[in-house]
Point group: C2
Chain length 197, copies 2
DNA sequence: GTCTATACGAGGATAGAC
DNA sequence: GTCTATCCTCGTATAGAC
């Protein structure tokens, strides 16, 4: 596994990394340039050099997050495993966030939707549309391979699965043992997807 | 239907009503005493007479919301209809919020969980525990009446359903047509609950 | 109970030196 | 690129008059 050990990450990337953790954990309104400043080790004013405004910063953040999500999905798709295994890996993406008490960036921003500038809203919609499209294709593969059936349509099943995963993250973070709650929520529904014994 | 037409609501109640709309729509960090002040028609300082701090205000808010939810659930339970009809009415509670672009108060606060004072966190946990208990009992009735089966347990199915409903609200509010998305998400899962043709 | 006035800090943002 | 210094607004909260 190649990582960045010893490599200097540029400042803009560091800012985005910290901001991402903050937004996923606290939401749009509850994180500030001062928070980023502390963790990155530069002054508040310096952040404005890289990202002129908060609106700009978060817009860039969602763009990057969207690309990252698509990369992950592509990786899963190209792994060559069966659709049911791919579905589990997809669910795993949501499960991973829990270790730092984080939910999906766009799930958090969907909650904050009413206070977001329009450009950010647009990016969020794009994220959900892309993710849904990918998941729909995966579900269709499973149907074709007779692994499962989707009623009344693969598109609706995809939406339902996304809602389930996001809701599971939401419920998990207010629970003491987040992982256990998440797994309990996921298991009945994903079990239904597998062939009957 | 008896309503409060002509009745003066006391100030504390008005404050809670406005605050509830605000929190459900914008979250904990993005609403202020100034917002309430405007809509209720009194000064910021006057709000502090009724609720000394924001923490206190929102704690009271969640307590009241929790009681309201339990009242609604009791009403459904005592309606004498079949479990499957009761389940639809329960889902309807979540659907109703959408008309004002609002999600469940506690779903919103679950997203904001990391920034909430401890007393509020406690109330939210209590809300979810109560709701889950009620829903578990309803699902059990349906099992007993052979209307459906719950795998691997009614408790897990209850959690899954709550996650689905909250996730559906989240996805609905970032969509142009919220109701349509919500209904699409709900229908595949709730349809499974009904007897096979 | 509600008001005016005010304290005090935090928030996002800009100007200009280095 | 990053700094210091500063602006202006908004946030929660308190004191004290009415």
């Amino acid at each position: 596994m190649v990582d960045n050990q010893g490599m200097e990450k540029n400042t803009a990337t560091q800012i985005l990394d910290v901001a991402q953790n903050m937004v996923r954990n606290r939401g749009y309104s509850a994180f500030s340039y001062a928070d980023i400043s502390e963790q990155v080790g530069i002054r508040k004013a310096s952040i404005h050099y890289h990202f002129p405004s908060k609106e700009n910063l978060v817009t860039m953040l969602v763009k990057r997050y969207r690309q990252g999500m698509m990369r992950e999905c592509d990786r899963i798709a190209k792994s060559g495993t069966d659709p049911d295994e791919q579905l589990m890996q997809f669910a795993q993406l949501y499960r991973n966030g829990l270790q730092q008490d984080q939910i999906c960036l766009c799930a958090m921003l969907a909650a904050d939707f009413a206070v977001l500038p329009y450009p950010i809203q647009t990016e969020i919609r794009a994220f959900f549309a892309e993710t849904e499209a990918w998941l729909t294709a995966l579900l269709q593969q499973g149907c074709d391979a007779q692994l499962w059936t989707c009623q009344p349509s693969v598109a609706q099943e995809a939406k339902s699965l996304m809602a389930l995963l996001q809701g599971a993250q939401l419920l998990a973070r207010s629970a003491e043992d987040g992982y256990e709650v998440f797994d309990q929520i996921i298991s009945p529904v994903l079990a239904v997807k597998l062939p009957e014994p």
